[in-house]
């Protein structure tokens, strides 16, 4: 039994192919006097990969918890496939897959049993779960670990198992809270590949991250969140176009001199950002900007010309780095 029957069928199969699966209006969550999420609004169409980008404490995880119905909102409207998660938590979650920030695999169960037992929490029958678990182990490249204990797995494997587990109920929406934090580059790329495949299958991905490269790789569209508010919204390319230049020159003059040298760089490029450890020079053409720096007789210890990234967008919007 797949719990589809619990939700009105119209919102599940009926609607237009790109119907909105999540809509939030003025979503607010306050703890005492502190607003963790301060009136944000967004809508996510089915099949989209939607990102929430922001530093720690921006309110990303709180938003995810409200979507999953495990944290009640203080104010605003929230609708997940036409249902209010506050009043229909179990029904909403029947169609959600959740990958929390910290793995919370069941350490007392073996790898395959983790999948089976999790499926039972959704009320799914064993006849469906046994082949499904094997299929997901294959998908997560963990088939040979089926009988292992969870704590014998590496960090990347645990993460993949958590993702496999979140897919046991064939969710229509997958919530990923910082899916690759703490993983080495190789493990991250394997994970990204798996998430790509899910996206190709039409699963709506909602992910939070504070890695710009991850957001650029995975998100069709994203909101930049800071202090519980939306600072900007758009596709990664769009955001970069609107809030940054094409290229960035990173100059390091040594931590003593970065601040004092700033004034001598005035006029080169379109904008200058002086950070404690480096100077960022925003320019359409990075190489020619760098030549102008040399022409003024300035010799940075290191210099680097790169494309603008979402990190620069974030810096521009908030005046702060994503990872402090």
């Amino acid at each position: 039994m797949h719990n589809h029957a619990l939700t009105p069928t119209g919102t599940l199969t009926g609607g237009p192919p790109n119907g909105t699966v999540i809509s939030a209006e003025n979503l607010t969550k306050t703890y005492g006097d502190v607003a963790a999420v301060d009136g944000i609004s967004f809508a996510v169409p089915a099949g989209e990969s939607f990102g929430l980008l922001g530093p720690n404490g921006a309110g990303k995880s709180t938003t995810m918890k409200m979507i999953g119905g495990v944290t009640r909102r203080t104010a605003g409207q929230l609708s997940i496939m036409g249902l209010d998660p506050d009043t229909h938590g179990p029904e909403v979650r029947a169609h959600l897959g959740v990958v929390p920030q910290q793995d919370n695999l069941d350490e007392e169960l073996r790898v395959r049993d983790n999948l089976l037992v999790y499926g039972r929490y959704f009320g799914l029958p064993m006849s469906y779960l046994r082949p499904k678990a094997d299929e997901l182990l294959e998908f997560a490249q963990l088939t040979d670990k089926a009988k292992s204990k969870v704590d014998a797995l590496s960090g990347g494997m645990k993460r993949r198992l958590t993702i496999a587990r979140s897919l046991i109920n064939e969710p229509r929406i997958l919530l990923l809270d910082e899916p690759t934090t703490g993983l080495d580059p190789q493990a991250r790329h394997i994970l990204w590949d798996r998430l790509f495949r899910l996206k190709e299958q039409g699963v709506t991905l909602i992910l939070t991250t504070h890695y710009m490269d991850e957001a650029e790789q995975l998100c069709d569209r994203l909101i930049v969140v800071d202090k519980g508010r939306i600072m900007a919204e758009g596709s990664p390319a769009q955001l970069i176009r609107e809030h940054s230049t094409r290229e960035v020159v990173e100059l390091r003059f040594g931590s003593e001199r970065n601040a004092t040298i700033g004034s001598r760089l005035e006029g080169i490029g379109e904008r200058l950002e002086v950070l404690p450890d480096r100077v960022l020079m925003y320019a359409h053409d990075g190489e020619s900007a760098l030549e102008q720096v040399s022409a003024r007789g300035l010799r940075p210890l290191t210099s680097l010309v790169r494309r603008s990234s979402l990190e620069d967008v974030f810096l521009r919007l908030t005046g702060r780095s994503l990872i402090d």
Binding site: V70, H88, G89, P90, R93, D106, E108, V117, R120
Partner: protein, 270 residues
Amino acid sequence: MSAPAQARSRTFGPLYSRNARAVIARGLMATRSTNWLVMVSGFFEPVLFLISMGVGLGSIVGDVQGPDGTRISYAAYIAPALLAVSAMNGAVYDSTWNVFFKMNFAKLYQGMLYTSLGPLDVALGEIFLALLRGMLYATGFTAVMGVMGLITTPWALLMIPASVLIAFGFASLGMGITSFLKTFQQMDWINFILLPMFLFSATFYPLSVYPEPIQWFIQAMPLWHGVELLRQISVGSFTAATPVHIGYYLVMTAAGMLLTTLRLRSLFLK
């Protein structure tokens, strides 16, 4: 009636999805693979007490007066009390330490609650597991009493369901209380309450040794009612106090379940 309306009409719509059996199945599977040693040790504890105090100490105490006035061996006197203590300890361990750990460290409930399960499914499942374990212990201990020749009447078999009732009272109240506790230091208070209750609830000697005010105090405590109830059942001698003991646990269970359910929202649905 549309599905959302149905869910709204259920009192516990967001709290309960009628799937506590999945939580129970998970508990049994986990027990099979890792926890069985803890379970075995929980069974032996009262048995060791019975041998040391009942047989050892009993050899110099001799026979004592039983609940119905006849003389019974000291071991037969304390055995039902130890069973009550074991029901209490097992239920309290499962509903306090076990729940505390799963809630704050293993993040097990966090994972469960991101599924279709509601907090009430989790609570019912965990309490059921605590009671199942309590019943297994009670059955084992009753069998040991039988082997040691401490059972003289078929009434004694009723000690098993009575132990489950005692466990139910402690488990439901214990889970409610645990929901307030946040640190290990606070968890230690539980032991601070349990140990004196174990030692002084007429477990090893009759209540009459105390001055009257202390007697009243002990009679207000839950364990004394459990000890008296099982002691009466063990010899099949019932008085007007018997329904009072049973009623005490029924009220305690109801109060505990009410407290636990009220706390679930603030615990899990912040």
